[in-house]
Symmetry: C2
Subunit: 469 residues, 2 copies
């Protein structure tokens, strides 16, 4: 479908000398076929595809460096690609150029179980990583939903359901190998758990969405697999009661591993889709990690707090199949919602506010969806104040899409006014560049632009994303 | 005493128009007295003082912005000052200029107990902060030892004994107000717990040591005061057994709040100083935070693991006065050591390695101290792989100092070779600029330099620190 804010592309054909150089480097791993370019010219946003002129599949940091050197010499835009699951138009080739597909750089390079660290190539996906390290007794907790690549997750500062306990990619990347815009290879850190050694290049490249350099190696923190896991669900008479339960639980120091919110529309959809009979009220889903006695204590404490906030039907379980049953509503929420309006497509939003503002932000946004008569549901990583409104639109009806985008714009403005952010975890890409200015102000945006100009003086690294040149 | 690597200062007198402008802004809060300049021209490093030409006491972000604007117009260096407790020459006025003392900007601006956040001015010290928020049931955990200012702690990416559980300033600063080199005021973030909104300016300024801008406001994460705290101590037959105990405890997922190491020299010193009779062996000191049952469980688990590693005399306690008694050795270690060589001064070092390398790094460094016949002791934030060797030197004996500096240089080189860092928590200042290059390599240092040039094009912000111009 047409996205209402899709910018105009300015494209030049690739220079012949450049293509010849690329061919010499990549041979059969260079493609200019339409199918290959189409595959790499779209993500999971609602933008129309914008195709790169060529795609190469890199096998090493050195190959990426050689390709970027060539791009820099010829002023050709270059975009890094992992699994294509970004949500805000991050990987679209707005000005053409080449896409470097990193999915074949998918080796787990080194596991250090005593240090709780692992070093991976960027194409390793999070599920693959957890599979490969299973026998160490450790795991990597960040779970954005999609089986994204670790490189992409680092580049977009991803997070997801476990962030309330384990943090985001910001907290869990120890060091990066990065190819900078001049084709040099730098290491941004070490495997030391902490460091006060100079400017924090690691955090600068985490979340930079390929606009400052291309990430070709990532050292991550790992965590011991919990001795015990328990799950719980309960319903609430209203949104405020659910949110207040979480606030009190966090203030009490209960180390919630996950706490997810689903609004009554989501519950209705899931009841229909999965033939369940959950109360059609706001729902909280919890997960607790710890020793056997600790997860029991956490669940009991949360049950008591939820009870004080009018919770209905608190259920908890430790056996894996029982936990899966309790969390079924969350796992199937997206697809269940889609079936509430056949033929529709979901526009997913993302914002994050201080948790004290969350109930108000949710209620006002919900009222706005209802005023606009949008079929919608809200899912929240409620412990972090982060939530997503999914709005179902007719992909062929521009007015419908415009209505949803207007709700999104008002939601973001509301979140920013509440001292929150325009994106908790999806990133900026093309879609949120305007909101980024609104959130940060011109001074901070000028600072970001100065960083971009300093590290990518020829504007070849994923141009047209995050900040305007 | 003379520091062997003190660089030559290049100084120009302050322009008269500049001084007149400063006088108009600050009136009686401008001082050019020798005493005031001397007080601000030294920190707790072993460098000789290097005095600024003038000192001003700021009361607001606007005053800082006005002063920096003036400095930028006249190309006058400007250094931010909190409590003067930095350790690597961070605040020395290498090229003269002015020091902005921020200690009178010491208001706790806003506490949000539901969100577990607080916003403070930079001159608030960590003890003052915890005193002022005591009644909220929350606390700020970062404890670098000194009662440093929050602004200085952010600027140096400080941490300390609690970092193993709560992280460092890197993980605990949510947002900053910063005056940039052109005198503009920017906000680097919001109070949202997570964000994927553009380049991570917050983390860029955290640890930038006043070289990219001056921090005038800090929003921090807070934590619930633990329901229970318990402490434990035990001795080990050797360093490796102590370190391996910590590795196994962390791999088992025990959420240690503090775990400190003291070598046998430190224990000997404390036995003499405090008339104790601790076994003169490597010592571990633990602190556990959680519910009453959880801290008991943690202590029992650690006792079992320590027992498997040959621990001697595991003692644990929950009552505050008993906990203080157990930790007495740690609290008095520095002063006790100083008395082992009357008239001496301690040179303190700082490095951090992956914990699997810690025992080797400690043993090799210890052997080096012994070869050089240096009176020394080692204190370690062992859960993070971070340690400090304190070496006692005669402040009037250049050969003695040179010996200690050579041990330090070999220790840092060793740590870097082990994939560690030249500074875990003290920062770079002037003292570690060479080691920074050794750790990061020319490419990453060039990237840091590009950032410095981009954000401080006239090189007025604390010039001569972190990276050479």
């Amino acid at each position: 479908m047409n996205h209402p804010v899709a910018p105009a592309a300015m494209r030049l054909p690739l220079p012949e000398a450049f293509l010849a150089g690329l061919q010499a480097l990549f041979g059969e791993r260079l493609s200019t076929s339409k199918a290959m370019r189409e595959h790499h010219g779209k993500d999971e946003s609602s933008y129309d595809p914008m195709l790169p002129d060529a795609v190469v599949f890199a096998h090493s940091t050195e190959e990426v460096a050689a390709a970027v050197t060539l791009c820099n010499q010829h002023r050709v835009p270059v975009i890094a690609y992992g699994t294509g699951t970004s949500l805000e138009g991050h990987i679209l080739a707005l000005s053409g150029g080449i896409t470097i597909d990193l999915s074949q750089m998918n080796r787990v390079v080194a596991v250090h179980p005593q240090d709780l660290t692992v070093t991976v190539e960027p194409g390793v996906t999070r599920k693959q990583l957890n599979q490969e390290i299973k026998d160490t007794g450790l795991f990597f907790p960040i779970d954005p939903g999609a089986d994204a690549s670790i490189g992409g997750m680092a580049a977009t500062r991803a997070s997801g359901t476990n962030a309330v306990r384990y943090g985001t990619m910001r907290e869990n990347v120890l060091a990066l190998t990065v190819v900078t815009s001049d084709g040099r290879v730098i290491k941004t850190g070490t495997r030391a758990k902490k460091s006060a050694a100079g400017y924090d290049l690691t955090r600068l490249f985490v979340g930079s969405e390929g606009t400052l350099g291309i990430i070709t190696g990532i050292t991550l923190k790992l965590y011991p697999q919990p001795e015990s896991i328990s799950a719980a669900v309960c319903s609430f008479p209203d949104i405020a009661s659910a949110v207040n339960t979480v606030i009190v639980a966090i203030q009490a120091g209960i180390p919630l591993a996950r706490v997810e919110f689903l609004d009554e529309n989501g519950v209705k959809a899931i009841n229909k889709h999965d033939k369940l009979s959950l109360p059609e009220k706001p729902l909280l889903l919890f997960e607790f990690h710890g020793s056997a006695s600790s997860v029991q204590e956490q669940a009991e404490q949360v049950q008591a707090i939820a009870g004080e906030h009018g919770a209905i039907g608190f259920e908890w379980a430790t056996r894996p199949e029982e936990r899966s049953r309790l969390w079924q509503a969350r796992h199937n929420a997206y697809f269940a919602l889609l079936q509430m309006r056949p033929g529709s497509r979901a526009i997913s939003t993302d914002c994050c506010v201080p948790i004290s503002q969350l109930a108000d932000c949710l209620l006002e946004t919900k009222a706005d969806c209802e005023r606009e008569n949008l079929v919608h549901s809200i899912i929240g990583h409620v412990g972090d104040g982060n939530f997503h409104v999914q709005m179902l639109v007719d992909p062929d009806d521009p007015a419908d899409i415009a209505r949803a985008e207007a709700v999104n714009a008002r939601m973001v403005t509301r979140a920013i006014a509440m001292d929150g952010t325009c994106t908790g975890e999806h990133g900026v890409g093309m879609h949120k560049m305007g909101f980024l200015v609104q959130e940060h102000g011109e001074g901070a945006i000028d600072t970001m632009r100065a960083l971009k100009h300093a590290l990518d003086p020829n504007n070849i690294m994923n141009p047209g994303k995050i900040v305007r040149w």
